[in-house]
Symmetry: C2
Subunit: 307 residues, 2 copies
């Protein structure tokens, strides 16, 4: 068996990474979890979670992330705040570069998650000046203001509803003529009189002096353009996988998510992908924890079978 610093290294401390850590630590593996920022992943910016089983009244994303973190630590998981910048993956030893530092491991569980997709219409210069990807984080800054929100899926509709606790008015811009969001969220949005729907439309740009003042919108069916006076623009149009540290070594799907089999193993033996970064049919906390339990046990078996 090769000599390595760790048996299992986990990248990412969202629900997937923490669950892999809970399982691996409980199995008394020599395991390290690396997280470049704060533990919790995307759920810590999720206002309220009511579909993770076990919490009858729902729970805030922040509290759920913290509970998982404490649970992992209680079971002895070693967590380090470091960023993986590059890696070399082989069926035997996996080498991870953390800036100047290097470490080796027999198996690797990638749980690095996904990030919000950008509009790419010049919104970068308004980041923190009206443009946001997180209502939970930024809604209080827009109290009694008018904002635009973009998207039609669960996240967009859920966050738009949350926004209405603070703002006077939300224009919800969606490029189609119906929402993709689950019905209960649609019903809540349709019955919320602070939300006005702008169908078949996309955001083409924005302007303003100190921050966002106008958001420009085009109807994709009629090509008609209009300008909405708004103090903010919230963007929820999808996610892209967090895989900057990957160097073409793993098989990806057409959107860049990491392909994995039913044991969560990627195209490189001993490398596993779980949660939002995987080519999964559904990105939920429930599916992330399921993926991760499987990957941790698969990693254990992989290591036991190493020559």
């Amino acid at each position: 068996m090769p000599q390595t610093d760790y048996d299992i290294v986990i990248i990412g401390a969202g629900p997937a990474g923490l669950t892999a850590g809970i399982y691996a630590a409980r199995a008394r593996m020599n395991v390290l979890l690396l997280e470049k920022a704060a533990p919790g992943g995307q759920i810590i910016i999720t206002d309220w979670v009511e579909n993770y089983p076990g919490f009858p009244e729902g729970i805030s994303g922040y509290d759920l992330g913290e509970k998982m973190l404490i649970q992992a630590k209680n079971l002895g998981l070693e967590i380090s705040t470091e960023e993986v910048t590059a890696m070399e993956l082989s069926p035997g030893v996996k080498t991870l570069h953390l800036g100047e530092k290097t470490l080796t491991t027999k198996s690797l569980i990638i749980a690095s998650g996904a990030s919000p997709k950008k509009l790419n219409v010049g919104e970068e210069k308004f980041m923190g000046k009206g443009v946001s990807f997180c209502a939970t984080c930024d809604a209080p800054f827009f109290r009694d203001k008018t904002v635009v929100a973009v998207g039609g899926g669960d996240t967009a509709v859920q966050e738009a509803i949350f926004l209405t606790k603070f703002v006077n008015k939300v224009y919800l811009i969606h490029r189609r003529d119906e929402l993709r969001a689950t019905k209960i969220l649609q019903e809540r949005a349709f019955s919320n009189d602070k939300i006005e729907f702008v169908w078949d439309s996309v955001v083409t740009g924005m302007d303003g002096f100190f921050g966002v003042e106008n958001v420009h919108v085009k109807n994709v069916k009629t090509d008609e353009t209009k300008t909405i006076k708004a103090d903010g623009c919230f963007v929820w149009i999808g996610t892209v996988p967090n895989t900057d540290f990957l160097t073409n070594s793993l098989e990806l799907d057409e959107w860049g998510f990491i392909k994995a089999d039913k044991h969560m193993e990627t195209s490189v033996p001993g490398v596993f992908a779980v949660g939002d970064v995987r080519d999964t049919p559904l990105r939920q906390i429930a599916t992330a924890v399921g993926d991760a339990a499987i990957a941790a046990v698969s990693a254990e078996h992989f290591i036991e079978n190493l020559a």
Copy 2:
């Protein structure tokens, strides 16, 4: 679209079935959950759960099952205590027989779980008279007694450790010379001086007047037999899928578990299998809830796409 009593029927109220119910009810589907006995599934006979993410100190299986049940009811899930006795499955309408009664549904999520495997050495006549498949249920009846336990996996070792809170002595019979259980459980069992390991051995029978008095054991390597004086015999040698109501209509794996793809869809369109009854690489609460979230969303999509 066909006219049916329900959009989705779920069979089984363990973590998988309740999670499917949480998702389907939250999506405002016309959904019914059928459970033949008490809700909770196998977890309600699980003493303590410390690897389901979100509960830092662990939680009793009973409490976790109850929380999931209340959550599903809070979201409006209809639950009925009825047993499915047979079914006819077609890509369109699925017909379920509940004794005399019949109901129809567009999609079906099978979450009927799995049951403990029997020894088949005549233990049936000692059921409730010394033979048990559940330490949590029956251990208190064996206070200060001597018992035999059979198995070498997680469940066997975990339950044997739990038994030692009550009994004076546990002989743990395992047909191999090492345990399959996760290392932390092995360590706990090896350091527990109430547990004596009987390696490479199987139970060949048992006898007694009012209940179990002697358990007969054979060493599979030496063929040597011996009799252990014991007041009970706990059996944890694996699980078999609960699929009595199936009439050869779904593709199964070699052990009888229902085959499903990554969307949890079985060989019949609109029929999904989740949790312990599925041909999954791992049977855990975490994986059951992940399966179920996927199946519920897949069922929604299936129904939306029905002609």
